[in-house]
Amino acid sequence: MEFNEFFVLGMKLLGAGMAMLGAIGAGVGVGIAASGGVQAMGRNPDAAPIIQTNMILGMAFAEAVAIYALAVALIIIFAT
């Protein structure tokens, strides 16, 4: 019984940590978006405001994945 409780707690934390692996993809995605955005701005500085807006939008969507991961992790830790 005692063992099971600790085992479950440990597994919960491990699972939360593994859930956050999803942030890897989001990080890569955000990095790619930023890279593309900066390159585009370097090529065409006049269009910088539009590129910036769209870049931030794209980064926000890419980040959404990490946010789902975070939500799952939080739920695992606190809500189970």
Binding site: L74, I75, F78, A79
Partner: protein, 245 residues
């Protein structure tokens, strides 16, 4: 859900809070500020437009000012020229007037001098006659009839003999004016005689002027039109001299 802190009451509180805030900010901030932004945008646009219009207007005004200036300069030079001309004209007029006046004064003075001279010559005529008669008496030795001597002298000076002008005898004259020159001023009666005689020759409408020229010494010179009848002593002496020489 409870562990994540999600609670319907808190959630509704936040929604309510947000709604109140949105309404307040809309009324207080967004509406007036957005209106102000739009107003400012239009004002800036209008300001730019106005500035352009003003620049154009200024260019026009400058051009016009230049034109006005040029006009003014032309006008000013015209005025100056006019004034100069008028002043010159006025000066000329004044000078002419003065010259005319001077000439008139001179004429008057000359006329007066001539009259004076004529009067003096008339005065001396009697004395000359007396002297001549005395000299003749001395030379001739006998006294001519004094009356006859006077007649001879008169005839010498006036060229009038027995009421007729000697020089006009047997000549035909035509003209509208006659000028009669004598060595000494003729008397009233002689003048009348000569005038009548001349007029009978050339017509009643003609004018007769009398001149006194001592250089002809005696007799009359009558000029009618372009014809000169010289019956003067000087003329006769000249003729004599030419014959002799």
């Amino acid at each position: 859900m409870e562990a994540l802190g999600i609670n319907l009451g808190f959630f509704l509180f936040q929604v309510f809070n947000f709604s109140i805030l949105a309404i307040l900010l809309y009324a207080f901030a967004y509406k007036p500020l957005v209106n102000m932004l739009e107003q400012r945008k239009t004002k800036i646009a209008q300001g730019l437009e106005d500035a352009q219009v003003a620049a154009e207007a200024r260019a026009n005004a400058e051009r016009e000012a230049e034109k006005v200036l040029a006009d003014a300069q032309t006008k000013a030079s015209n005025v100056v020229r006019d004034a100069t001309e008028r002043a010159e004209a006025a000066g000329r007029e004044v000078r002419a007037e003065m010259e005319a006046e001077a000439a008139k004064a001179k004429d008057v003075a000359l006329a007066e001098a001539a009259v004076e001279r004529d009067r003096m010559l008339a005065d001396v005529r009697g004395q000359i006659a007396a002297l001549a008669m005395a000299a003749t008496q001395k030379l001739v030795g006998e006294a001519l009839d004094e009356k006859r001597q006077h007649a001879l002298l008169d005839e010498f000076f006036s060229g009038v003999k027995a009421g007729k002008v000697v020089v006009l005898e047997g000549t035909a004259l035509a003209g509208s004016s006659a000028e009669i020159t004598s060595a000494l001023p003729l008397t009233e009666a002689e003048q009348n005689t000569v005038k009548k005689d001349v007029l009978s020759k050339i017509g009643d409408q003609a004018t007769v002027a009398f001149r006194v020229d001592p250089s002809i010494l005696g007799g009359l010179v009558i000029r009618v039109g372009d014809k000169v009848l010289d019956n003067s002593v000087a003329g006769q002496m000249e003729g004599l001299r030419q014959k002799l020489v």
